[in-house]
């Protein structure tokens, strides 16, 4: 038990709550799934309490809901424009999902603590979905013209020879960087917290130093949790803008 507690990787363990197996596929309800639904519940609760008593001058919780709504709506409108507003529900969902995934993961719940965004497969699934969706929207709106994205009009041939492979590569690297960024941030933050926290007890009196460090890093991690949710949603809107407007 002691060795398990001190292993900084233990917190990322997927633990099955209800074993489910459908025709050879393991779809057990795990701690990861529980936190995903917790994020859904938190989003619902936030918007439910925010809109329960509708007042002209918003209450505190109502302003939080309105702020989140207007923040994401502003981001979509600014980056994609009016046509982008039909993707606003998706971007807001994405933002809420990752935001609550990150923040709920910071709750000090002992061995139950879990952050589903620290799993590359979750982020990769989201990123690949966005990548495929953006590509489909791009071809649907512009047909083969969408390939212009790799070679802007008026590029001289010698430049194009170098530019086109780079552009193609950067296009296909998008889901990788999108998912890795979130994964690495969450992983590093939680490992750091766990390692620092391990020193608090073992250093005895001088444990005060890592204790202060853990407090500071926790604040930093709350910020990172918010920023990474924002970055993920922002990059998605920027990719969407490429598909809608072709630069």
């Amino acid at each position: 038990m002691a060795t398990e507690a001190n292993n900084p990787m233990e917190q990322f363990e997927i633990k099955s709550i209800v074993d489910i197996n459908v025709s050879g596929y393991d779809i057990s309800f795990t701690n990861s799934a529980a936190f995903m639904f917790a994020a859904v519940a938190c989003t619902f609760l936030l918007f439910w309490t925010a809109t329960r008593r509708r007042t002209m001058v918003p209450s505190r919780i109502q302003s939080v809901g309105e702020l989140m709504f207007e923040f994401v709506a502003g981001m979509v409108k600014e980056n994609v424009g009016k046509e982008g507003m039909k993707y606003f529900p998706f971007i807001l969902t994405l933002f809420c999902f990752i935001l609550f995934g990150n923040v709920l993961g910071l709750l000090p719940l002992g061995h139950s603590s879990f952050t589903f965004t620290s799993h590359i497969i979750v982020n990769a699934t989201l990123a690949i979905f966005i990548f495929v969706a953006v590509t489909i929207i791009g071809f649907a709106r512009h047909g083969l013209h969408y390939l212009r994205l790799f070679c802007p009009e008026g590029t001289p041939l010698p430049v194009a020879i170098v530019l086109v492979p780079i552009e193609i590569m950067s296009y296909f690297i998008r889901p990788v960087s999108l998912s890795l960024r979130l994964f690495a941030n969450m992983l590093a933050g939680h490992v750091l917290l766990k390692v620092l926290a391990g020193f608090i007890i073992s250093l005895g009196f001088f444990g005060i130093v890592p204790f202060i460090a853990v407090s500071a890093v926790t604040l930093l991690e709350i910020m990172v949790a918010l920023i990474q949710a924002y970055v993920f949603a922002l990059l998605s809107t920027i990719y969407l803008n490429d598909a809608v407007h072709l630069h």
Binding site: M9, F12, E13, I14, S16, I20, Y25, D26, I27, S28, F29, T30, S32, A33, M36, F37, A39, V40, T43, F44, F47, W48, A50, T51, R54, M56, P58, Q62, G65, E66, F69, E70, F88, P89, F90, L92, T93, C96, F97, F116, S118, H119, I120, I121, V122, T125, L126, F183, L187
Partner: protein, 163 residues
Amino acid sequence: MPQFDPSTFSSQIFWLIISFFVLYWVVARFAIPRIGDILEQRARVVQDDLDRAESLKTEAEQALADYEAAMAEAHGQARALMFKVSQEAKVAAEERNRAIGTELTEQISSAEQRIAAARDDAMTGLSSIAAEAAQDAAARIAGIDVSKGDADAAVGTAMKGSA
């Protein structure tokens, strides 16, 4: 590292898809309409208030313009009335002056006529007295009985000559 254990991938992806769709439904069908409603309602109320303020402002400006117009009109009327009154007073004064003037002229001329009549009477009396005196004098001094007619003629000639 638990992240690279492919045996957990299927369940993670499965529940991710399920929960993400549930969340999408919550956001698209619940959160966005409700928050959007509140924001729209607030924008409408603010716009209504602004519109009302605008209409009240134009009303106030209209009232001010009306007041100024009424004021200007009253000023104009007062000035016209004053002008009319002073004009009437002037006319009345002139009339009175003229009336007094003619009355005075009439009185003067009648007085002059009376004076002239009195003088004529006096003159007539004087010449008859002179003729009588001359008649008397001629009778007493020269013993000539001068007729009244002759005496009158003589006096008239003498008076004309001395006059």
